[in-house]
């Protein structure tokens, strides 16, 4: 039996991007993990917390901790949700300390826990990578996602200029300060288009929904795709969106 891993899919990915969660399962199982999806999981409470509704966030944090009790590791395909659990939870409630310690963002889990940088992936496309703010500055994942991408066969990785600037999503910020958010998005899209990449990837579907939503509105033809889906793709089983 491999490591007993719980997939923390996040409410956004569960609802809007099931392919990403399926990709995580496929990838982790390929690497020998024993993956489970605790059915009690809902939402980590990040939106509530970040918007100022702390009391609701505390309730959600407590039930999140219970839902993930008993697993060796909890893996999330999201820097901001993993950051919420690991960096914010301990401040919200004592009983969340254990789940906070056991929670990893996907690229951290692959590189730090499983110790792999070559996951055996194949993805013959031109790709640029946007390091999302919370994975970069809250979790400090650093070069890990890029290390993983560099080992993907066939993948042409193009550097994104101004990569560490925020894409302007920021949760409810995108609605409360929609114009400012859109101005930030415009610059991010300009940089993505400059790379002439076919795909922009990141470790967080929330930021990708923002960048991808802008790219799609402008009919640029550039796809936004979660890192997990690139890493899950192999020569035998190439990436394909839901049939």
């Amino acid at each position: 039996m491999g490591t007993r891993v719980a997939l923390f899919a996040t409410c956004l990915t569960d609802t809007f991007f099931p392919d990403t969660a399926r990709a995580v399962v496929r990838l982790l199982e390929r690497l020998g993990c024993d993956v489970d999806f605790p059915a009690a999981q809902t939402c980590c409470g990040q939106m509530h917390y970040n918007t100022g509704y702390r009391a609701h966030a505390v309730k959600l944090a407590k039930r999140h901790a219970k839902a993930f009790d008993g697993y060796d590791a909890v893996v999330a395909p999201s820097g901001s949700c993993a950051g919420m659990v690991r960096e914010v939870y301990p401040d919200l409630h004592r009983r969340t300390e254990s789940v906070a310690r056991r929670t990893y963002e996907l690229s951290e889990f692959l590189v730090d826990v499983l110790g792999v940088t070559d996951v055996g992936a194949y993805f013959p496309h031109r790709v640029t990578y946007h390091p999302t703010c919370h994975s970069l500055r809250m979790l400090g994942v650093g070069e890990k996602p890029l290390e993983l991408l560099r080992h993907v066969r066939g993948l042409d990785l193009v550097e994104l200029s101004g990569a560490d600037s925020c894409c302007g999503f920021g949760g409810t910020f995108a609605l409360k300060n929609a114009e400012t958010s859109t101005a930030m998005l415009a610059d991010k899209m300009t940089h993505v288009l400059e790379t002439r990449a076919q795909v922009v990837t990141a470790g967080d579907n929330s930021c990708l929904m923002h960048i991808g939503g802008g790219l799609s509105r402008l009919k640029t033809g550039v796809r936004s795709l979660h890192l997990a889906e690139i890493l899950a793709s192999t020569e035998e089983e190439p990436w394909a969106a839901t049939p």
């Binding site: 560490d164 925020c166 409360k176 114009e179």
Partner: protein, 477 residues
Amino acid sequence: MGRNPVTWLGSPTFPNAARDALSDVQLRGNLAHATTTIRTKRAAAVAELPDWQRLRESGQAIKDEVLSNLDSYLERLEAAVTARGGIVHWARDAAEANEIVLRLVKEAGASEVVKVKSMATAEIGLNEALEEGGVSAIETDLAELIVQLGDDRPSHILVPAIHRNRSEIRDIFRSRMSGVEDLSDTPAELAEAARAHLRRKFLSAKVAISGANFAVADTGSVVVVESEGNGRMCLTLPETLITVMGIEKLVPTWSDLEVFLQLLPRSSTAERMNPYTSVWTGVTPGDGPRKFHLVLLDNGRTQTLADRVGRQALRCIRCSACLNVCPVYERTGGQAYGSVYPGPIGAILTPQLGAGTDDPQTAALLKSLPFASSLCGACYEVCPVRIDIPSVLVHLRGKAVEGTHTPESVAMAAASWVMQSPARFRLAQRAASVLRLISRRGKVKRLPWPGSKWTDSRDLPAPAAETFSAWWRRTRG
């Protein structure tokens, strides 16, 4: 008074002000250029020091020590300044501070004062108050002078005229100075015009007014850090010097000061050392001002200190590094923040200093400020005194929504109720899938308000036909 302390009276909320600022193409160009340049330089200046993170930790620790024993440090400072011939005044708020300064200027028999660039005096609107009392205040810092001559408002802590480019500055000088009809927009000529304009004022002024970057409690020494040397002229030439200083600017000893003299220039101007550091201790017969008044300003600082999370904003040394890296500030500029404190620090300091205002429009602005951030964390990463700005923002958001009954608070409570139960969450997911009906090729292009705030500029993916959890139940459950 016509002016609310801390904020500019009548300022709109942040989103409204930002909307106007964003449509100013010239402004966005000026700002993007200026912030990108200084950002890169700062990163290089900081990278030179292998112990930068330790320095930041020291800076944080020293300021925290001062803040937790502020009363005794202030008393120590007062005693030391008094012993060296200075006079200390205490001002509870902007109105009191302005009154004290105006009285002191009148007592010195002056109708004109020269000023060293200072955030504290800008915060309390001292220039306007002096003006009303018949005293004209002349800003001597180049950027501050540009703002003053242009009847403008500052938009940056260090470079208040950062939103102006060279040709705009030339136009301001041409219209407000004499004998500069042929002025070009080269930096050297602009600086020369300002120098000629100011030199006359320095030589005739009897009173100078300054702020303070630091004060050493042990010895009563006051410190001003600057780049141009105009400050030093003000601090040494006039007979009377009046310094207005926020009560949080203290450091205990000279060796503590050393830490900040490393942190500040690299964070602020990306210099290893700033060109001019002026230090004075009371008065010295035969050297410099003969009278020295120190006005210690509270203006909301004590109430800020009472907040365990929010008080770290008082560690701020006004370096403006957080502004320069802030993606929101870069797009909107500083004036949208409605006070002399723009950018991330403004978003956490202004609401705290101004809390308790009885002006509804100001209250609305103060509530909107903590939301003026995507919480990207770039500010926290650069702050030389490690102020966890994102956490304070979230904390202040909590205060802003506390006890409110708005469509948002109702929606949040509903979402929380749904998420308390997996069964309710599954139902909500199914309900959300109605969005598929209005989608085309998997994209939702248009939603009614408030969803329109998203779909005005971005497509929304339609919810999946089968959620992941449903798929898991079907295939693995």
